[in-house]
């Protein structure tokens, strides 16, 4: 047992933070929060605080990276030095490089990049405060920022993890569950079609547990999707009022 590991993860059907096994942490999404960016979103998801900004379509530098058939989508996931308990040194590490890559691939599945050949669309995800699940929060924020920037997409991309803690399959792990649990399974989907555009897993799951967790994560994504749509509706209303 690792230092700090709790004896039980679920007591009387409630998790350590009071949630039920299939319950999301409190989620708040706001679109259009930054002035300079072409599109932006702020996500507060449990103890996660995440900003995403989108710039583009725009000229691409260096020129030889341009693609004559479609826009190049570039995503950068980054953590603020003060976003975690132990100060993080600035600059990309291996974890953030991997997350940037899978985030980009998830978003590429919905963005109509062929409409903007020879350009770049940049998406920046900044984790201001972390409490496990930041990649899902980041993808969730990023697709709202893209929509806020008016980038044509066939759908938004909500993301949510499920996992296994103390033998139970639960939705949306928070940090203690993530650190001491048995498995984490982040998933992102294209809600209109049900396609899966991001899928990772580490830990230990039987086939049955996997299928159960996968199903649960997809349900979580659908809840996140509703919040994304609300946020965009709100910002459109606000803008049309202005």
């Amino acid at each position: 047992m690792k230092a700090g590991e709790p004896e039980e993860f679920i007591v009387d059907g409630r998790r350590l933070d009071g949630r039920r096994v299939d319950e999301l942490r409190p989620l708040k999404i706001e679109a259009g929060v930054l002035k300079r960016a072409d599109g932006s979103a702020y996500v507060e998801w449990g103890g996660n605080k995440v900003l995403a900004a989108c710039y583009g379509p725009k000229e691409i530098h260096p020129r030889h990276e341009a693609n004559p058939k479609r826009a190049v989508l570039r995503t950068y996931y980054s953590m603020a030095p003060f976003s975690v308990y132990e100060r993080k040194r600035p600059g990309p590490d291996r974890r953030s490089m991997e997350i940037s890559k899978v985030t980009r691939q998830a978003l590429e599945s919905v963005v109509f990049t062929h409409l903007y050949p020879m350009t770049a669309i940049d998406v920046f995800i900044e984790i201001l405060q972390a409490q496990a699940g930041t990649r899902c929060a980041g993808i969730t924020a990023a697709s709202v920022a893209l929509a806020d920037a008016g980038i044509p997409m066939r759908d938004l991309v909500p993301a949510c993890a499920a996992g296994k803690v103390g033998g139970h399959i639960v939705l949306d792990l928070f940090d203690i569950e993530d650190n001491y649990g048995e498995a984490d399974l982040p998933v992102a989907i294209v809600p209109r079609t049900g396609e899966v555009c991001l899928m990772q897993m580490d830990g230990n799951l039987t086939q049955e547990e996997f299928e159960q967790a996968f199903e649960l994560a997809i349900k979580g994504c659908m809840q996140v999707y509703e919040k994304q749509k609300e946020a965009l509706k709100k910002v459109y209303e606000k803008r049309s009022e202005e």
Partner: protein
């Protein structure tokens, strides 16, 4: 090439407005934009602040860690100020190692904090010559519309005054347990920036003004009104009189800024 022509046109526009006594955003020459300072907004940082200065938005986090003191200051804590100009905040910010603008920002904010002696570093010694507290100030602009110097210095001192010491056990920091004890801070330095555009001197340049300025002067003041830091920027010059004048009138602006710090 177009960039340069546009720059000329912009400069011409801003300057003509100033000639007519007007600023691009309608402010008085000697007026700050709207300021708000929120503190304690980050649960992972020991201290934090979110400063809004017009449309400029800056987050500052203070983290504490422990380590060796400097050999020539064996009984003193260590202060480290760092800035990141993340491209999320502006199309002109680039990824990669800190460039000279990033470094200058960090160093000029650091100067006011350090030279004012506002952090009682001598109280941050845990074991002389062996273990002291290290104070990390991270300046993190989120939305860039000019005058990061003033916004970041304000955020830094606001965050420092809001910093709680974490628990220390066997020489290791338990970040999850925050004590009641605050970081010892005894002064409230702030920085005030004027810029010169053509023959005009204006306070708190917004981005549109920064992009066309000739020269910039940032002055840091402690609570007593003493000067603790200065930095001139830009390829243009000031006359001696302009500088003396800016330093004088900046003092009351410093007092004004200080009133926005909560607590």
């Amino acid at each position: 090439m177009n960039q340069d022509i546009i720059a000329d046109i912009k400069k011409d526009h801003v300057e003509k407005l100033l000639d007519a006594g007007k600023r691009v955003d309608g402010r008085g020459f000697d007026e700050y934009r709207n300021i708000s300072v929120e503190v304690g907004i980050n649960e992972r940082a020991e201290g934090s602040a979110l400063v809004t200065l017009g449309r400029t938005k800056v987050m500052v986090g203070v983290k504490l860690s422990v380590g060796m003191p400097f050999p020539d200051m064996p009984d003193s804590g260590v202060l480290t100020t760092n800035a990141e100009l993340i491209p999320l905040a502006s199309p002109s910010f680039e990824r990669g190692p800190p460039d000279e603008d990033t470094v200058e920002l960090a160093r000029v904010v650091d100067r006011a904090i350090r030279e004012s002696g506002c952090i009682e570093l001598e109280k941050l010694c845990i074991e002389e010559g062996e273990l002291v507290w290290i104070v990390f100030i991270d300046l993190h602009p989120l939305d860039y519309d000019g005058n990061l110097f003033d916004a970041c210095t304000l955020g830094a001192i606001a965050a420092l005054k809001n910093t709680y010491m974490p628990k220390l056990e066997d020489g290791k920091v338990d970040y999850k347990t925050r004590t009641e004890e605050k970081l010892p801070v005894r002064d409230t330095p702030v920085e005030v920036t004027y810029c010169k555009i053509g023959r005009h001197i204006v306070l708190d340049p917004c981005l549109e003004e920064e992009e066309v300025l000739d020269a910039r002067l940032t002055v840091g003041y402690n609570e007593k009104g003493e000067i603790v830091a200065m930095q001139k920027g830009g390829s243009g010059t000031f006359t001696k009189e302009e500088i003396v004048d800016i330093v004088r009138k900046g003092r009351e602006k410093a007092e004004f800024l200080r009133q926005h710090i909560p607590g």
